[in-house]
Amino acid sequence: MTAGPMIEVQNLTKRYAGRLAVDRLNFTVQRGEVVGLLGPNGAGKSTTMRILACYLPATEGTARVAGLDVYTQADEVRRRIGYMPEHNPLHRDMRVRDYLKFRARLKGLSRAASRERVDIVMQQCGLTEAHKRIIGHLSKGFQQRVGLADALVHDPELLILDEPTIGLDPNQIRAVRQMIKELATRHTVLLSSHILPEVEITCGRVLILANGRILAADTPNNLQKRLGEGGLVVAEIAAPEAALKACFDTQPEILRYDIAPAEGAYYRCTFSAPPGVDLRPILFELVRQHNWTLRELTRNQLSLEDIFVRLTRPDREEEG
């Protein structure tokens, strides 16, 4: 095994008949990382993955997997990748075990090795019970497991999973996520999704894509810190409205606030703070100084979802 990053993408561009799908993409994935490609539909996630899986050529730029060029050394790269395309296409007329065996042999495993690996991945993906069933008769969740087992069967260094949980029910999603998490200990994983919590839960690092470009790349936590401002703080205070206003107006840390009457003497105040500032201790101090009564103080962290919407909504450019 060579050292160096698992995936290296430089100036990757893909143009389909007049439409730019991927626009000068640059990113690196280290060995052992779990990276999520996140973006609205049509952002270029699938195209990027197809290029990495050696299915499509890039128009410009280079992509390397384990130091091997995906265009000129495609055969070597394919041996190292377990790729599950979008919508998880399978030979629906085959039985689970036969299909996995066929795929294992196709990926160059010997008869004995394929038998062994098929048993292992069926166990790993919870398919042992279903090994004789016809794939087309399985539920979608089980079909997804078959796809995942196929991607895993030759024990690849890199797993590329395009929308692995699309179309599943919540329980199945949870099961697939759990499997991906377990896989992350042995493989480098690149997965795509437009479902945010999924990426938030499973990935160590997130690349947010829109219109073929990377808008942000960081850990989910850092993204929240960097882009999330201080979040919204909500407090319920019993005090005269005028006194509250007078007090808040003089505080430099409070960017904006909003006061609405709640039941009794309480007012529900909502504050927004600049990035990196936690308003809660400041507010508590104010309440203490004025001898008001405080019954609630909470901060709503901006979720990845909010960040995503901010970054990718179409009117963002006019805002500058």
Binding site: L56, P89, H91, M94, R103, R105, L106, K107
Partner: protein, 250 residues
Amino acid sequence: MRVYWLLVRRELGTFFVSWTGYIIIAAALFIMGLSFAGILQALNTEPLTLTIHELFYESVAFWLVLLVATPVLTMRLFAQEKQSGTFETLMTAPVSDVQVVLAKFTAALVFYGLMWLPLVAITLTLRQYTRQAAIVDFGALAGAMAGVLLLGMLYVAIGCLASALTRSQVVAAMLSFVTGLAIFLGGYLAYAVPPQLGWPHAVLSQMNIYQHLQDLSRGVVDSRAVVFCLSTTFLFLFLTLRAVESRRWK
């Protein structure tokens, strides 16, 4: 090579896990049987001047099976995989485009061979019941089988190309049927175009698969027939390969 055989087996399996394979064989069997009954009838009324298998090429049944069955059995090869998306999992496995094209071609050709097996049975039955060993000349029979195989290679290759060009099986079948029919009818034009015209006649008589098959089934192995079938098969397979590769053109 291992991957190639694996793919051939998988492709052949596909014919038989669905109804397609059985339906094609049943239809071919039906047409051949019909033709067989017709021959028996003819034998009862008048003495025979042709050999038995020649009767087959004279009959509509043979050409019907060749022209209709090959598009139907090849339309699936690439189009279905493209439609269902399994083409992507196939082509991202460590297999080469050549392996895939040749494996699909071989599987379809083997199936085509299986389809013609009843013909052998029919010939042998005829021999048994007429009690005339001379009615079936094994040399001529071998020639005829070689002819069926050569034509099969050409028509299966046409089907491969048609299927590789589209993701719709219907379009693939139409395309290969029309191409196959054009070659068949083009050969007939050789009779209409006088030899004095020079190259048009030469080209058309090369294409005359009917004549080729007739020669072969009389035990005359004409190199023109062999060269024509093999070279066009190669051409169509080459074009198929290019079509499969085209997704990786920059």
